[in-house]
């Protein structure tokens, strides 16, 4: 048995958001009578952690404890419009909308607190722990709950805010392709190491080491979750997945998880990542969309590592053991052949 080793790299960009038809999302925020904050959206959580991240952005902007901020998602009767969760856009669009809504709600909160504390609103600040205090006078403060109660039952005011973020539509100039297709771009660079068994054609991915530039990791564990899951999915796309194993023929399409192959635990490579944070100009707290990109750089990095190992490029996905064996045969028969 001969095992060849190879290393490959790939560097990619990934746009945040989209340009078609305008790309808006809205958020509404209001306080309950006792000072909990409801963020109402029609956005969806696919498992990436949208609700958690939106609560963080809301709590940070309002200046109230995270646990008093609730996120209600995806009821068209109550939630304002959102284009949807795709195109690595949700955190960027909805996060910006929440910042706007939270600023308005916070102004209302401070206005009422100012009346209660007999101070000017601009002299007040939330302490992040459930109270509003007068800057420089730590003994003069009032709880958010008391402010909310006063707003509801004494002042007849709502503590609420409306937020909207829209990337205006960018029509493409048909002759030149001039357009503004996104809001910002995240980046990734992956270094893959592989072993190729020249008798079976099997590729073993030993490691995927990547740097991801994400603007700002609003919740580092959730970003890491996208990275680990994305690296696995990218590896899966590179080596295993297809709905048409005999493309372009449509025969023998898999219909179950046994035949739609994805790597399992024994196939897992060592996955390590460095998260860089260089704030974007327009993302909430500088963030960039990271959800989709994490699956992209592993694919060409693995393909390039296979080339490094066997000396010939295989340029059709997925790179199956059969394609590896055929490429090796062609290489040995026809020199440094390009095999697809």
């Amino acid at each position: 048995m001969t095992v060849l080793r190879g290393r490959g790299i790939a560097a990619v960009n990934y746009p945040t958001g989209m340009n078609l038809g305008g790309d808006p999302s809205q958020a509404l925020i209001h306080s309950t009578p006792t000072g909990a904050f409801m963020i109402v959206l029609s956005s969806t959580d696919l498992g990436q952690g949208l609700r958690t991240v939106m609560a963080q952005i809301g709590a940070e902007t309002l200046g109230v404890p995270m646990e008093t901020v609730h996120v209600d998602t995806a009821d068209s009767d109550t939630g304002p419009h959102c284009m949807g969760t795709f195109a690595s856009r949700a955190t960027h669009r909805v996060g910006n909308a929440i910042i706007e809504a939270a600023n308005e709600a916070r102004d209302a909160l401070l206005d009422v607190a100012a009346d209660e504390l007999e101070a000017a609103p601009e002299d007040l600040e939330p302490d992040g722990e459930g109270s509003i205090r007068v800057v420089g006078s730590p003994d003069r403060s009032i709880s958010v709950t008391d402010v909310a109660l006063a707003a509801h039952f004494k002042h007849g005011r709502t503590i609420s805010g409306r937020g909207m973020y829209m990337k205006p539509k960018s029509d493409v100039v048909p002759e030149t392709g001039e357009m503004d297709p996104d809001s910002t771009e995240a980046h990734a660079c992956t270094v893959a190491e592989v072993e190729v068994d020249t008798e079976t054609g099997r590729v073993r991915v030993l490691s995927l080491r990547s740097a991801y530039e994400v603007g700002r990791a609003i919740n580092p564990a959730l970003v890491q979750g996208q990275i680990t899951g994305g690296a696995w999915m990218g590896m899966s796309h590179a080596l295993y997945e297809t709905t048409a194993p005999y493309y372009p023929a449509i025969d023998h399409g898999p219909t179950d998880f046994n035949h739609y192959l994805m790597p399992g635990a024994p196939e897992l490579p060592e996955i390590s990542a460095e998260i860089l944070e260089i704030p974007s100009v327009n993302g909430p707290f500088g963030m960039k969309g990271v959800g989709e990109m994490t699956a992209n750089s592993p694919i060409p990095a693995i393909a390039n590592a296979i080339t490094d190992a066997i000396g010939v490029q295989i340029t059709e996905l997925p790179i199956t053991p059969e394609k590896v064996l055929r490429a090796l045969a062609e290489r040995d028969g026809a020199g440094d052949a390009h095999v697809s």
């Binding site: 498992g47 979750g225 399992g264 635990a265 024994p266």
Partner: protein
């Protein structure tokens, strides 16, 4: 309910239950549709994703492949019987705190298999955990966080044992 339905009784999460089942109705269907135990998921109904795994007499079992007649008078444990939000099992706590769940659809099945593993092997290697979970599909996490969570849960359970003894 059709005339040829039959009453089947079994023990579910420690309590006796009875269900009127259609012939060859799956345990999965009886749990979800009749008994309201919707923690047992239906990801493929082909035996291929593991999201419907429950314990039958302590063995991890794909409830989409088992006619409910086969569990008559036997003990069935679902995710609801393995712990609760108030009192999560060490596995549930480890999955929660270790970010081993994203969309969450595979989690009940993963935890069902992992708990059967830890009952038999309190200190499994990552390879043994991976082998036990080979029939459970997760599309979100990349598997590694799940294996780490099972290791973490095993450690918590061993520490718990030490405290008690």
């Amino acid at each position: 309910m059709a005339a040829n339905a039959r009453a089947i009784s079994f023990e579910l999460n420690g309590e006796s239950v009875a269900a009127l089942a259609k012939p060859l109705e799956t345990l999965q269907s009886v749990l979800r549709e009749q008994l309201g135990m919707t923690g047992t998921k239906a990801g493929c109904r082909q035996g291929g994703c593991g999201s419907c795994t429950v314990h039958v007499d302590g063995e991890p079992t794909l409830s989409c492949l088992v006619p409910v007649e086969h569990v008559a008078d036997r003990e069935v444990t679902t995710i609801e019987g393995l712990g609760s939000a108030e009192e999560p099992s060490p596995l549930q706590a480890a999955f929660h705190e270790g970010f081993a769940t994203q969309c969450g659809f595979c989690s009940p099945g993963m935890i069902a298999v992992a708990s059967a593993l830890l009952e038999r092997n309190p200190d499994p290697t990552p390879e043994e955990i991976g082998e036990a979970l080979a029939g459970n599909v997760c599309r979100c996490t990349g598997i590694a966080p799940i294996i780490a969570a099972v290791e973490d849960a095993a450690a918590r359970m061993r520490e718990g044992e030490e405290v008690r003894t």
